[in-house]
């Protein structure tokens, strides 16, 4: 039997838990408040840590005086994070770390730190269109440039591209190559060496335009309709309810125990060892539960590192450093903004022919990534030109935010296409169907999903051309968007042990972000062993267990489910070998179902699970599960989803209200149906939140965030969500294997809602969030246009 068959997913009729609504296994401890999070970890002798932070968006440190803080009773340790001479690029950056006996004392001590700064000019706004004529920076990279790229978290692939294309003005051996990711070190070693160039500082980093076909000719063609528009989405924050933070303690001189609020339990030691000065093997990372991450919690960060350094200074006592709400919103992660001026053309029958866009956005000092514009159709639309200018400013550092760059690219693309459909006089659903081949490999999935979404929203019956003509100030409209995401499972390992008494344990160093990871692991193991999930103990969230990848990029479900399946099949087969003689069959004739090991087709020849396990002997069965990474047939990549929004807009107040949203979502083989649906509902709600309310509002005068709290950084509440309908494509694409789901459904809501508002009021509100002010401004603008 080929290996692939042995491990392949059981058919739907052979599953009891996989793909069904089995209930969240960790639901009760969460509901009753017993579930423990990093923030809740209160070991004996706990000290509290906090940072003195820079109040300026751009400054140079002149001097630091910690003497007053040092002499305060209760202060146990002080560390300078960034010293005199250091240039600071955002307000709220960490300067001094302090640990004290309790939180009131440490906050008092932070206030007592005196830092003198030289203020430097700052930029915190980003929505103004940059000049189009700045040439791309092609000068060779200096060591300082490289350091900036690292400290500003420029994505590795972008760094490698820059290193390769621009070359370097230093010798590779001058760079700390051994501390870098190997692929970046290799790029530096291979990079052309050039003499350094003096370059004036600039707020803008334009990338070279990317072009396909002949866009200029395509726009000039006589038989095309051209639509032009401006679209955008500002910087928003992650606003994890459990703020970022960690508790570190030295269990002896050489061993560190870290409780970090993290999306990557297994990866914490490797990211801390250099800074803390001990081998990664001596660092244990533990986490039971995490109160939200959304892409912002992969690194130990300064709070992780400095909780360990302060602990060391304080004789090993545990130090808790959790960010306050204001700190969380100011410095612990933001999603880059994206704005674009777009021209798009189609033939009169709706065939899309050309795209041209000039885009810009910021991820803070690093400039931020470049969204994949035009979204979904890039490389397949026959003629396009797309330009991107990164705005380098002092808004604070960006982090991956659930489906990085995709919601931005989706809004810009889907809104531009929606405007074009309007100009063509087409129903946008018909327009997307007409051009669906341009979306590439997922075209068939969208075509399967469209009629379902249509029916659930009653789109075809209810859609009207742009501008609700019913009398009165309340206008209603429908909008639509589609999206995709990769989501191939990450590398993951686990140990599955069957004891002679029948008890079963799985150990895996993964984490459950609330996506239902624990539930999914147990569903797979239970179905494979013919047990119920309650009969299996899952130990996770500890570097003492086999490593599992970080929970980002929607990679967890593929990683943990394939790994669990492989371990459970191997353990089950080992058990079959032990039991076969007693059942008078060969191992390959046996099956594990309903708490029994029995001969296939002969249910009378069966042993109860416990009796079967009694045949194991003294040495338990242990199977190590390890998925095959990218080539594992149990998992796959690339999902398709369709979303529709139904909104009402009060044209007198500008208030947008969600009436209903529909999400139709594929993720290949669904492992845990109920928690998968919850992911989609949650994504719709998060999408409503960023479409209508969320924005990191910066003050151009002081360079600080104006709304670092939950009153003015508004999240959607229970009264804001309307009716939500989720349809998962159950059992439709099982043959593709398991594909990640966490990110895809949060990509479309902004576009679908923006399109619905345009459909309701007859004009495009260019930028999210669709606040009353922006809606009224767009209406006023259109009336001016009409009057002129």
């Amino acid at each position: 039997m080929p290996e692939q068959d042995k491990y392949s997913w059981p058919a739907p009729e052979e599953r009891t838990y996989v793909g069904r609504r089995m209930g969240r296994v960790d639901g009760m401890p969460k509901s009753t408040g017993h579930a423990k999070y990093t923030y809740d970890y209160n070991p004996k002798g706990l000290l509290y840590g906090a940072f003195a932070r820079c109040p300026y968006a751009h400054a140079r440190i002149k001097s630091i005086d910690t003497s007053a803080a040092e002499s305060m009773p209760g202060v146990k340790a002080i560390e300078i994070v960034q010293g005199p001479g250091k240039e600071i690029h955002w307000a709220g950056d960490e300067i001094v770390a302090i640990a004290a006996v309790d939180e009131p004392t440490v906050r008092d001590a932070v206030r007592a730190v005196k830092v003198e700064y030289e203020q430097l000019p700052h930029l915190v706004l980003d929505s103004k269109e940059p000049p189009h004529d700045i040439p791309p920076d092609t000068s060779p990279l200096s060591l300082a440039d490289l350091e900036d790229m690292f400290s500003n978290q420029v994505p590795a692939n972008q760094m490698i591209k820059d290193i390769k294309e621009r070359g370097i003005s230093f010798k590779p051996q001058e760079a700390p190559l051994d501390r870098m990711p190997p692929n970046i070190a290799d790029a530096i070693k291979a990079a052309p060496q050039k003499p350094p160039e003096n370059k004036p500082p600039s707020w803008y980093k334009p990338a070279a335009a990317e072009t396909q076909g002949d866009p200029d000719a395509a726009f000039k063609a006589s038989d095309v309709v051209v639509s032009e528009g401006l679209y955008g989405i500002p910087v928003i924050t992650h606003c994890c309810l459990e703020s970022h933070g960690a508790v570190s303690e030295w269990t002896d001189n050489d061993h560190l125990l870290v409780h970090a609020s993290t999306q990557f339990v297994s990866g914490i030691p490797g990211q801390m060892s250099e800074e803390v000065g001990i081998p990664a093997a001596n660092i244990r990372s533990v986490q039971e539960n995490i109160g939200g991450g959304f892409g912002s919690k992969f690194a130990p960060d300064r709070w992780g590192i400095y909780s360990a350094k302060l602990s060391k200074k304080a004789g090993g006592a545990p130090v808790k450093m959790m960010l306050s709400r204001a700190e969380e919103l100011e410095v612990a992660g933001a999603r880059p903004s994206a704005y674009a001026r777009v021209r798009v053309a189609a033939k009169k029958d709706g065939t899309l022919t050309a795209w041209d866009s000039f885009g810009w956005g910021t991820g803070g000092p690093g400039g931020g990534g470049s969204p994949p514009i035009p979204y979904l159709i890039r490389d397949r639309v026959p003629n396009y030109r797309t330009q991107w200018t990164a705005v380098v400013n002092n808004i604070g550092p960006a982090r991956a935010w659930r489906a990085p760059n995709h919601p931005q690219a989706c809004l810009i693309t889907m809104a531009a296409l929606d405007d074009l459909a309007h100009k063509l006089g087409m129903n946008p659903l018909d327009f997307l169907k007409k051009n669906i081949e341009l979306t590439g490999p997922r075209a068939n999935i969208y075509m399967d999903e469209f009629p379902i979404a249509d029916e659930l929203m009653d789109w075809s019956k209810r859609w009207h051309p742009r501008g609700d003509t019913t009398p009165g100030p309340i206008k209603r409209g429908l909008g639509l968007s589609i999206h995709t995401w990769g989501g191939r499972g990450h590398q993951s390992e686990c140990d599955l042990t069957i004891q002679p008494d029948g008890s079963v344990t799985i150990k895996m160093g993964t984490q459950d972000l609330g996506t239902g990871t624990r539930t999914a692991i147990l569903a797979v193991a239970a179905d494979t062993l013919g047990l119920s999930p309650q009969q299996i103990t899952l130990l996770y969230g500890d570097t003492r267990y086999p490593m599992s990848g970080g929970s980002g990029g929607s990679t967890t479900i593929g990683g943990v489910s394939s790994t669990t399946r492989r371990a459970a099949v191997d353990a089950r087969d080992a058990l079959f070998a032990k039991v076969a003689p007693a059942l008078g069959g060969t191992p390959d004739q046996l099956e594990a179902v309903k708490g029994q090991i029995r001969v296939k087709g002969n249910p009378s020849k069966a042993l109860a699970w416990k009796d079967a396990c009694a045949k194991i002997g003294a040495v338990p069965i242990n199977a190590h599960g390890k998925n095959l990474g990218g080539r594992d047939p149990l998992m796959n990549s690339g999902v398709g989803g369709v979303q529709m929004a139904d909104v009402s807009v009060d044209t007198e107040t500008g208030i947008v209200k969600i009436n209903k949203m529909v999400a139709v979502q594929d993720c290949g083989l669904i492992v845990s149906l109920e928690t998968a649906e919850s992911q989609c509902y949650g994504a719709l709600i998060m999408g409503i939140s960023y479409a209508l309310y969320e924005e990191k509002v910066m003050d151009p005068a002081t360079g600080r965030m104006l709304n670092p709290n939950m009153e003015f950084y508004r999240l959607a509440g229970i009264g804001d969500i309307g009716e939500l309908v989720v349809h998962m494509m159950v059992n439709k694409y099982d043959s593709r294997g398991v594909i990640g789901l966490g990110e895809p459904p949060v990509i479309s809501p902004g576009a679908a809602i923006s399109n619905a508002v345009a459909n309701a009021i007859g004009v495009r509100v260019p930028f999210l969030p669709l606040t009353p002010q922006r809606v009224l401004a767009a209406l006023e603008e259109s009336q001016k246009g009409a009057a002129a």
């Binding site: 209930g23 969240r24 960790d26 639901g27 009760m28 969460k30 509901s31 009753t32 408040g33 017993h34 579930a35 423990k36 999070y37 923030y39 809740d40 209160n42 309790d102 939180e103 009131p104 606003c239 994890c240 309810l241 459990e242 703020s243 539960n289 995490i290 109160g291 939200g292 959304f294 306050s324 709400r325 972000l513 609330g514 996506t515 239902g516 109920e674 928690t675 649906e677 919850s678 992911q679 509902y681 949650g682 994504a683 719709l684 709600i685 998060m686 939140s689 709290n709 939950m710 009153e711 999240l715 959607a716 509440g717 229970i718 009264g719 969500i721 939500l724």
Partner: protein, 222 residues
């Protein structure tokens, strides 16, 4: 408990902030000093730690706590009762919600010293004993949680709301538990919790019959 102590338990955070400047000039005394502010007598606690007695989930605790410490921080850091979460710390999100004499309050904006003598119930004690409360079971049934960080506060707020509005629906729900926020987006599940709970009378069999009749008549809110 003395009359002065009674008065001290009515001290709100705002009053406290208003008078804290004065408090600094008052010499340290064994018990709370009393000064007059805007014609009213106000007890001055601290500024150092003072003994604070709290009744939490039926259990009495006495701890030395600074008067500026909130009920939330006293619960979490002094008593290790960590169901109530600190998220906004400014009465904006509801993650810290506890019952104080059966009223839902934001423990992040209640001082520990003013919670003395009151019955404090957190998510851990909502069921009254070892069993979870029916509302908490309904949170599980409706998968009204993801990361779970807002959930303990939500269960307490929902319970308090349903006690007052056992037949609530629609806008009442949005308003009644709109003071709690979730980042993962679990509101649809929470709507399910309310729907489930309002269809079932909380006490006894008579309620079950009543509900059955109501459903037969055509709807939970009939």
């Amino acid at each position: 408990m003395s009359k002065k102590d009674d008065r001290s338990s009515n001290l709100s955070r705002r009053d406290f902030l208003k008078i804290s400047g004065i408090a600094a000039s008052v010499p340290l005394v064994a018990g709370p000093a009393v000064i007059e502010v805007e014609g009213q007598e106000v007890a001055i606690h601290g500024p150092g730690a003072v003994p604070v007695t709290l009744i939490v989930n039926g259990k009495k605790y006495t701890e030395k706590i600074e008067p500026r410490v909130t009920l939330l921080d006293a619960l979490r850091e002094h008593l290790d009762v960590t169901g109530p979460k600190r998220v906004c710390d400014r009465a904006e999100c509801g993650a810290c919600t506890v019952l104080m004499d059966n009223r839902a309050v934001y423990s992040c904006t209640t001082l520990a010293i003013e919670a003395q003598g009151k019955q404090i119930v957190t998510a851990e004690g909502l069921g009254g004993g070892t069993q979870p409360h029916a509302v908490q079971a309904a949170f599980v049934n409706n998968d009204a949680q993801q990361c779970g960080f807002c959930t303990p506060g939500f269960t307490v707020a929902t319970k308090a709301f349903l006690d007052k509005h056992p037949h609530a629906g629609g806008p009442e729900v949005a308003h009644g538990i709109g003071g709690n926020l979730c980042r993962c987006g679990t509101y649809r599940g929470i709507q399910g919790v309310v729907a489930q709970m309002t269809r079932r009378e909380p006490k006894g069999n008579a309620g079950t019959t009543m509900i059955a009749e109501r459903i037969a008549k055509g709807g939970a809110n009939a």
